[in-house]
């Protein structure tokens, strides 16, 4: 795939990126639902260009952690900075702007069902007012990269699980984000498709993107570790730990 999709927009945004600023910084961050504390005393700096796995048992708070990383949830205590901005001081529009620099892929990714796959993938470009989704020349390259060229005019409900994940990945990266957050991206697909998605994410990482994948699929993590120097974070006992090389 041509680098231009991933690099062009980044160059455009470069002016408002604080050079050298870390992508995501957590300092003693905690999150409580109602009475109980789900995550506690989490401190971490996500290094630009690194490849992270976030693992832990179901219900440990992986999704909550990722949601904080794209400001869908705000920490109940501690300090969380996205691209140098404290989330507590961010207005709704600030959050919208920051999300243009964070690509998110969910396990159950949602689309706008009456728009074609191509239109859905190009939606972030239209929303940011940068371009016209119909004449984005890079769109075709991106769709070819995720292997969805032949499904460009299909509607999202017509896609298979693997195709949905790849469409979500394409949509997540069309704005050339600084970081890609994937929440159980291989949860609904078979092993072959998991490998294919992983290859795409590894390729993105080689292009300089920070990648964070929440997954409890140890096979996937092992497969990745053989190809990239992945850092593995584990959420256990409400806290974030850097897992050793024993995976």
């Amino acid at each position: 795939m041509s680098d231009c999709i991933l690099c062009g927009a980044q160059a455009q945004q470069g002016s408002d990126v604080e050079s050298g600023a870390d992508v995501i910084e957590l300092d003693a961050v905690a999150y409580s639902y109602g009475g109980g504390e789900l995550l506690s005393d989490m401190s971490l700096t996500i290094i630009p260009g690194a490849f992270y796995f976030l693992t832990g048992p179901s219900g440990a708070g992986k999704t909550t952690f990722l949601k904080m990383c794209y400001a869908a949830l705000k920490p109940t205590s501690g300090e969380l900075k996205l691209f140098g901005q404290d989330v507590r001081t961010m207005e709704r529009d600030d959050i919208a702007l920051v999300r243009r620099r964070i690509g998110v892929v969910h396990q159950d990714c949602q689309f706008i069902n009456h728009l074609s796959v191509a239109a859905n993938i190009a939606l972030p470009v239209s929303v940011s007012g940068q371009d016209n989704w119909d004449d984005t020349t890079n769109l075709q390259e991106l769709m070819a990269w995720v292997g969805l060229s032949h499904r460009a005019n299909a509607l999202p409900p017509e896609l298979s699980g693997g195709e949905r994940q790849r469409a979500a990945l394409a949509r997540a990266i069309i704005m050339s984000p600084d970081i890609v957050l994937a929440d159980e991206p291989t949860g609904n697909v078979d092993w072959e498709m998991s490998e294919r998605l992983l290859r795409l994410l590894l390729e993105l990482n080689r292009m300089g993107k920070t990648v964070v994948i929440a997954s409890h699929d140890l096979g996937l993590i092992r497969s990745a570790k053989s190809q990239v120097q992945a850092r593995v974070l584990r959420i256990a006992n409400k806290r974030l730990q850097l897992a050793g090389a024993n995976l």
């Binding site: 869908a72 709704r92 919208a96 702007l97 069902n113 728009l115 972030p124």
Partner: protein, 301 residues
Amino acid sequence: MNALFSALTALFVGDLQRDRVVPASGYTSTLTGLTAAAMAFLLVFAMALTSASYRLAQDWSQALEQSATLRISAPVEQLDVQVARAIELLETTPGIVYARPLSIEEQSDLLTPWLGVDVPFDTLPLPRLIEIVQTPDGFDPQGLRLRLTGELPSAVLDDHARWRRPLVEAANWLSVLGAVAIGLIGLTSGAMIILAARAALAANAQVISVLRLIGATDAYIEAAFVRRFAFRTFLGAVVGTIIGASVVALFPGEEGHATILTGLRLSGVEWMWLVLIPPILSSIAFSATRYAANRVLKGLT
């Protein structure tokens, strides 16, 4: 203020791509159009009613100022003397500005609708009518009647104010009611559009959450819905106004002899007011949808 400005800019500049984000079909927006048409139709009638009753109240108020007449029935040879005596008497009565005998022609005009056009009024022994123009405070009809009984027994005083005043009050009330109806129609339109917009926003919750996730600002999402509703309302209001105006224009009536029924029409400049109905209703839709969208969006991250 900035948010309002960007929302207004987005509304008028338009964005085909953004408009496609909200599903085109959906019966809430069709119902919004129909509601707007019905409301515009009712507005035309409320405006016609307000204007007709206001005009009627004005006409009747003016008539009230000259609403008393004195009728003198006497043998033809004494008629002029008695009229002169009556005028003298009336002009010395407190509360009367002046009194003027109606000419034969004026009396003929009054009688023609009842007796026909070819009646030789000048040869008939008709009683003479004297029009009394009074001060705003008016005169004392009882006192005048007593004096007339003593000095001019052939004269009969007709005080029209007695039965016209309640009519003027009723016409005034009717125009106030019309104005209240216009206000209520505006409020109801706003409420209905808020409900429709909320339904549409709820039906498109997935669209909204996807848009937020990929970095759409509230103004972008709002504009997609606001344009849809303002536009539907505008179209509906245009249709409703045209139908309402046609019905009012075809309303059977007679120029110059307005009553509350035959005068239910708009005159001259008042027709121009109808042009304002579609923009006013779509402004209401604009604000109502913005309000509804704002409330929904504030609940999302």
